[in-house]
Assembly symmetry: C2
């Protein structure tokens, strides 16, 4: 029987000890640990990788510390546009929603697309209508509000026009991440899920890598499950998540080699910053990132969870 | 200097001689030939691959015979939701729009995203606002109307509930393709572009592979330019366009081997039907499809265009 394991992330970016108070740091460590533990418990009870990543991402969406669901960042217009994606490595079925504002947990809507529609990606009002038909009660976007994200929008509007200035590269300071989970269950199945509020001050209608299969999320029992966070556009152009699978499948690289190649070489070559979490079919785990920090954690069933925020640190 | 070449497609599907009158067949052959010739002329004059695929897809969108722009299929609600994508193999820059209803030529909006935004994918109203800011005059969706597509919607509504029946696979009979172009210019640059109206009777909000980098469209000077048409969801889950590039880059396959592997093995394994057009960095051309037919054509600069519709036929 496979040694089941789950890994999660809560976004990557310019996260340094200097920026994070000890109190805030403790909140992140506690949240990450609890979510890894919930995933471990689910897998230990024989749950599927698909259920484990769904539940982990739902919890990350519910936690206001992270940029997905409650606590999601604001668009330039002061609205929320949420994206999420999930893929089952066993069947290669996938579901995603993009640009939704009235779904409390976009990952649950993505799961409904995977299970109850012949489609992979639904956007905007059509996605919201489908989610409602599937029993997900519509919510007012007010529930996504947090003071911190609102203040970040005011600051971005006042100081950083780069996201709206089409001649300039995206300012990484306006990025506050994405959440995601990957898991391997006892039955040998891999799954991946990703969810995000996007970029603070983003142009309404902008969709990044999170809801795109092969860019921000990919899973295939034959090789690997991957969830990404970072400069979304570069992850889209490099097909970062699927590229890791292809490097393993066609290039014969190990999980470690493939994730390092993508995160430390291919993404930076196009000015892409961020990281990935990945688990291969043998249960190896890799959590590389090329930014200052990445909120992350993982745990094998039966072990204590391991979580980290900065470089060279697992606590 | 590289031998410049362009290839185009006007969709794949259940296209047989029995279905197509000789008069209609002639219309398709004439349209395909003219569009290949326009691309050849542009490349012969030293134009870039990016300009050639933009112009070829713009012409395909303008032609009511094909399911993109004018002549696009209707959603279940009797509306039009158009998607397009373009990628420059020289810079790996890309632009795409999805779910737009007021842009006459979605490929021109995608090109504007590529050139004048830091983003890759814009959807819905946000994409339309951006296109208008970039000088593309908004249009009434009435301009996309053709009697044939309207009749197809009525027939699909009356007889085929499969697109809306979430327990059934997508009925290939409700698919009427996509358009696309790939080109290699004299300077050695590759580019790819894809545009579609999606599926007749589709659920509003459904987005297929066409506007997704790596699924329906991919270009990289290092290996290949690809544009796809077919069962969109399967092309998304298999990353069909990027998979061809990865098989060549990491697996050492030739253009012919890589396109055959994807179109004849990997797509059918997930019940995916359709085809691709692809040109590699040496100017080799492949136009494989696993369906009854694919509207297609290609032409090297200085040669007569070669066009075809059915299997085993180039005229």
């Amino acid at each position: 029987m496979t040694k089941a394991v789950i890994a999660i992330h809560g976004g990557a970016g310019a996260i340094t000890r200097a920026q994070l108070s000890p109190e805030k740091e403790l909140l992140y460590i506690k949240a990450l640990s609890e979510i890894v533990e919930a995933g471990q418990a689910l897998l230990e009870a024989g749950g599927t990788a698909l259920d484990a990543v769904t539940e982990a991402v739902r919890m990350l969406e519910e936690c206001p510390l992270f940029n997905a669901g409650i606590g999601a960042v604001f668009t330039h217009d002061g609205t929320h546009e949420l994206d999420a994606c999930i893929m089952d490595g066993n069947t290669l079925e996938a579901g995603a929603v993009a640009g939704v504002s009235h779904i409390r947990n976009p990952i649950l809507a993505a799961r409904k697309v995977l299970e109850h529609s012949p489609h992979v990606l639904l956007i905007g009002k059509g996605a919201e209508n489908f989610a409602e038909q599937q029993g997900l009660e519509p919510v007012s976007p007010d529930i996504f509000f947090t003071q911190q994200r609102w203040d970040q929008l005011q600051s971005a509007r006042a100081n950083q026009q780069t996201v709206l200035d089409h001649d300039e590269p995206i300012n990484p300071g306006t990025k506050f991440g994405t959440v995601g989970a990957v898991a391997l269950d006892k039955h040998g199945n891999l799954a991946a899920a990703t969810s995000t509020g996007g970029m603070t001050n983003k142009m309404p209608g902008r969709v990044g890598d999170s809801p795109i299969i092969g860019a921000g999320c990919y899973a295939n029992n034959a090789n690997v499950a991957v969830s990404c966070t970072g400069t979304g556009e570069v992850f889209m152009k490099t097909l970062a998540a699927y590229d890791i699978a292809a490097l393993m499948e066609y290039g014969g690289l190990s999980l470690h080699q493939a994730t390092e190649r993508v995160v430390m070489e291919k993404l930076p070559a196009l000015q892409g910053s961020g990281g990935v979490i990945a688990i291969d079919s043998e249960g190896n785990v890799a959590l590389p990132f090329n930014s200052e920090g990445m909120y992350r954690g993982y745990g094998y069933v039966g072990d204590a969870p391991s979580v980290g925020i900065y470089q060279s640190q697992e606590s």
